[in-house]
């Protein structure tokens, strides 16, 4: 990646630009040009070489540092033999710059360069990724860090922790497998042994009733992930667990960890045993700080947390997948040779009949919604590796470190007022730092969107209609839309709207947090407010790549306000 600063303009324009800068002041002092080339490259993460689609040959793609207010120019060159595209995830921009082939533009043809240009109107932690075919799953993603104009939270160290899932199989092949056998990758299905274990735990009739209820639905309570650790290696900043990545700190320092889930299909439960995390931003936007011990990060979400390790010891950043079929790991350590023990993966939490209430009312209501758990022997073995011996980490130092320019003098977490503390972050805990008065009053339009699918055939859709068969959703510029997402399936669906914020209705009123991805759990109904403040045609989809590709996708058109004839 090359970053070209100011002063690369032809002389003729120099005067104009200088005048413009004087008038506009320092706000627009930055106008950087970023160049990335997308190419196929062979990489070895699983013990054999595989083809990856990478930006500048790097996994993940280079972290881009922008500044709020900056006019960015991004020249993306396609060196592949197929079309490519880059989508700036969570960024508010003109729709032609959004990077979704077939909706915002025609894509970038092989050999072509496309120039994205827009003004950055926000700050925080975001990411960018390919929006063509399966390129995102093949490695085309990177972090976007936008420095705010004002009120930058000063920390001693600032790190990007980018989670992803790297497949063994070609993603197109995985898709075909799921179409032919949708539980292809589930090796945690309930067995005859589980049946007898459950009889001991729950009693005979209870167990029979449970099996009959699931059998009646033709569903599996272990079906938490369509693609699992059987196919995936879980990465942090493009490295497997074996790479033993480290993030350095000095005891007493405040660290900002910018977690980004760039996975195609994997939700993670993330914790740093021994350290409290203070969540300060969700999806790039500041939230009222909340102290937690663990959070679930859905696909495409970002969370910024502060940690303040006091002891001279190493800590594991441990991200176990929601279905416990694997984990990603890095170490927070004061010394390169010091590693923390790898935490043991906990049992997965099975789906319950209550979860399925939304999907199959009539089955769930009267059934006891026991929280079943089961362990996976293979996972346990995997997790029991002891702390690895010291290795040469010269190449791993300060992975994903944000440049020193962004690092300021420390403030102690403790200096802030006391606040609520939770073991596990819940969407209910997220509260915006600034009120948005536009959220008050009734919305201009209410749209119920049912999240639907056919797990057996591996078809995903909205309102039982696949993208290929659906009309766009049309709204008017200036309207506030209230979407009601009704999840009728047994999967989590991280719903992403391009170009527009979704204000999650979590009971905070004007302080409802705004997000670019709203994860809707199985059987759950979630309301979001979407001010249609950007004209154009936007992609609107489940961010699970295989769900999006099979049809859980819509075009959302924000039409110009109607001309008034007076």
């Amino acid at each position: 990646m090359q970053i070209l600063g100011n002063g690369h303009y032809p002389n003729g324009k120099c005067m104009a630009i200088c005048l413009w800068l004087i008038v506009m002041g320092p706000v627009l002092a930055y106008a950087d040009v970023y160049r990335l080339s997308i190419s196929e490259k062979s990489i070895n993460l699983i013990g054999e070489s595989q083809a990856a689609v990478l930006a500048d040959g790097s996994l993940p793609a280079p972290t881009l540092y922008w500044r709020e207010g900056e006019q960015v120019t991004l020249q993306i060159t396609n060196l592949l033999t197929e079309q490519t595209s880059i989508h700036w995830h969570g960024i508010i921009l003109p729709y032609q710059m959004d990077g979704v082939p077939g909706i915002s533009f025609d894509g970038i043809a092989p050999g072509q360069t496309f120039t994205y240009q827009f003004q950055v109107k926000q700050s925080g932690t975001y990411w960018y990724h390919g929006h063509s075919g399966m390129q995102e799953q093949q490695g085309l993603f990177g972090a976007l860090i936008i420095e705010p104009q004002h009120s930058y939270q000063p920390v001693d160290r600032d790190y990007v922790v980018m989670l992803s899932d790297w497949p063994r199989a070609d993603p197109h092949r995985s898709m075909a497998r799921l179409k032919k056998q949708s539980d292809y990758y589930n090796f945690q299905r309930r067995t005859v042994g589980d049946f007898f274990t459950d009889i001991q735990k729950l009693g005979f009739w209870e167990t029979i009733a449970d099996r009959l209820a699931w059998g009646d639905m033709r569903m599996e309570p272990t079906d938490l992930a369509d693609v699992t650790g059987i196919n995936y290696r879980y990465l942090i900043n493009g490295q497997t667990v074996d790479a033993k990545q480290i993030y350095l700190f000095k005891p007493g320092e405040t660290l900002r960890l910018r977690f980004i889930n760039a996975s195609a299909m994997t939700h993670f439960d993330l914790r740093i045993p021994g350290l409290k995390m203070r969540v300060i931003a969700a999806d790039g936007q500041p939230v009222m700080p909340v102290d937690i011990e663990e959070f679930r990060i859905a696909v495409a979400e970002t969370y910024d947390v502060l940690v303040q390790p006091q002891a001279d010891q190493a800590y594991s950043i441990f991200a176990e997948t929601m279905d416990r079929s694997g984990y990603a790991l890095a170490t927070l350590t004061p010394r390169e040779d010091l590693h923390a023990p790898i935490p043991t993966m906990r049992p997965m939490t099975l789906l319950t009949l209550a979860d399925m209430g939304g999907a199959h009312s009539g089955h769930a209501g009267h059934q006891a919604a026991e929280l079943h758990t089961q362990t996976n022997d293979a996972d346990q073995q995997h997790a029991e590796h002891s702390a690895p011996p010291a290795q040469d980490h010269a190449g791993h130092e300060a992975v994903g470190a944000v440049p020193p320019a962004h690092v300021h003098q420390q403030t102690h977490i403790d200096s802030e007022p006391a606040m609520e503390s939770h073991a596990l972050l819940d969407y209910k805990d997220l509260q915006a730092t600034e009120a948005n008065h536009a959220l008050m009053g009734p919305p201009d339009r209410e749209i119920t969107l049912r999240l639907t699918g056919n797990m057996y055939r591996y078809i995903w859709s909205f309102d039982d209609t696949k993208f290929a068969d659906a009309e766009p959703i049309r709204v008017k510029f200036g309207e506030r839309i209230r979407f009601r997402y009704v999840n009728e399936t047994m999967m989590n669906h991280p719903i992403h709207i391009h170009g527009l914020w979704q204000y999650l209705d979590n009971g905070k009123g004007m302080y409802n947090p705004k997000k670019h991805v709203i994860n809707v759990k199985p059987g759950q109904t979630v309301n979001v407010d979407v001010p249609a403040d950007a004209e154009g045609e936007w992609a609107f989809h489940c961010h699970l790549l295989y769900h999006m590709d099979t049809g859980m996708f819509r075009k959302l058109i924000v039409e110009k306000a109607e001309q008034r004839h007076e």
Binding site: K179, K180, Q188, Y456
Partner: protein
Amino acid sequence: MNNTLKNIWLCGLLAAMSINAAAQEHSMIFNHFKADRLEYEGNQGLHLFKWDVQNWTGNDEQKLWLKSEGDYSADQNIFGRADLQLLYSLNIDTFWDFQIGARRAFEPERTFDAVIGFQGLAPYFIEVDSAMFINEKGNVLGRLTLGYEMLLTQRLIFQPRVEINLAAQDIQNRGVKSGVTEFEAGFRLRYEIEREFAPYVGMDYVEEASLREHQHSLRGVVGFRIWY
């Protein structure tokens, strides 16, 4: 006359398939080959090689489905049964496909039947493949296959299976007697080395009734399941 009917039937079928294929060209097309059973089946007096193979090509809604079943006796160097079905398959419900097409039997006699059936997954995970066969003279035959899978481990799978063949009336030239013409009940115990490849052992109880004879036997089975 029979040939004319046959041709009209086939032409209509192909036309329906091609029209629908054109309408659906934007959605993803997959091909799925599955040899559910490739096996040796036998006892003291019987040595058969059996196959039960299917292949579909299509998208979520519509598929072109080929099915072939049969058995070959190595001792006698004859095919006991061999047929091929060509079906247009339409997804009509979450778990169900409606199928319509034709069956060509090569053994024991060369016959031609129209086929209408349903294939899918019934509640409680019971796999169902049902078909009704109608020959040129309007005689009606039926076949119902039910299967179930029990996981002993994640890879060791016990699979009971029942197949019933029926005839609505006697068909003299085929030696078919009305009622249950063939009943087969058994199990397979397979080990999925890969999802796509699983060797198995099993047992089958088979009862056959025709105008000429009535026999039943118990058979051991060894074979493998393969798909891609």
